[in-house]
Symmetry: C2
Subunit: 209 residues, 2 copies
């Protein structure tokens, strides 16, 4: 379930609070975000919010942790053919045709990510999410290698490269002229898939060796 | 000449002011930066600074424009063998062993880049720098294709992909746990070169066709 839909029907107070943070963050961006603006989106007791969080950063770090849990629980299962599993993962992490809401959320995440340059609590969250995606990629590549459909290469290196490309495409989407952004992200995605095939798939000659 | 060295021996007032901005930005980061802190690094008339810039953002956008001019004038000449030219460009844009000062600057640039998610003046600068690097890459790829050493493929798509990977490696460097960052960037760089060779270099079979 996409994050936005999850927040449409929250099942507990934490989800409600995280949904309010999500809405306020998408609407105002990081710089203009205040606890007051999050509170405006929060239907429950305002005092609960003010009692638990001293600053917007404290709340946003918890929000990132929530987003990461959501990522971990919704990342596509690794049960397809290895090449299809890679594609599903890319569909999930690098959609080529994001909705307006997804685009707003990508912008907000890029703003939060920049906080990690100076704030350790943010850095911890982004290190975790990077490792989560990296580990999933390594698992898929290893499985393909064990099945003999992928070439023997250093899975860890290829995975680090894929994560960097996804991060770069996201930051470009959020920070460069939006008239060219869509076609740019599509190009990056197409080329990434082509490179992965060139690196991973054994050629007929190799296969018959 | 690296940017830091340029600022060590400025030749005019603009370079001095940009040098002061560079030092203050590296020292304090975006969030803690103030015109006062830039002024503290500026040896000339403080009133000059206060009269010309209403906000730190105005000064930082000019700083980015200056950095971009520097990038354009120092980007390696495209006169080597095409594959070597690609490597020189990567050495320039994605150093695998950045100095402490370069790392601080990368963190600052990532913070400025996030401003582009909400501020058009920043976005314009980052769109320009993206296009500058993209165009240089396309020129090198086209030259290699004209010389028959590179495969005929869509240069624009491959270039967009390379720029995204460089951006992603930079943002990872600035925002994830620094104990693993060095080896992570080295992996991304090694894999990027391997992918470029796999995509660009004709195999012996193709060459004799």
């Amino acid at each position: 379930m996409p994050l936005g839909e999850l927040f449409d029907e929250p099942t507990d107070t934490r989800q409600e609070l995280m949904g309010a943070t999500y809405c306020a963050l998408c609407e105002h961006g990081y710089a203009e975000l205040t606890i007051q603006r999050i509170s405006d989106q929060f239907p429950k007791s305002k005092s609960l919010l003010y009692h638990h969080y001293d600053s917007k950063d404290e709340l946003l770090v918890e929000f990132l942790s929530f987003v990461l849990e959501h990522l971990e629980s919704t990342i596509p299962e690794d049960d397809d053919e290895p090449l299809e599993a890679l594609e599903s993962l890319l569909d999930h992490l690098l959609p080529t045709d994001p909705s307006a809401e997804q685009q707003q959320f990508i912008r907000a995440i890029v703003e939060l990510r920049a906080q990690a340059a100076s704030t350790p609590a943010y850095q911890t969250q982004f290190t975790r999410s990077t490792e989560c995606i990296q580990n999933r990629l390594v698992a898929i590549i290893n499985r393909g290698q064990n099945q003999g459909v992928f070439r023997p290469l250093e899975a860890d290196q290829l995975a680090a490269f894929v994560v960097a490309t996804i991060d770069g495409a996201m930051i470009q989407q959020a920070t460069t002229d939006s008239t060219h952004t869509h076609s740019r992200v599509r190009k990056v995605r197409t080329e990434l898939e082509t490179c992965l095939e060139a690196r991973l798939i054994r050629s007929d000659t190799e296969a018959t060796e």
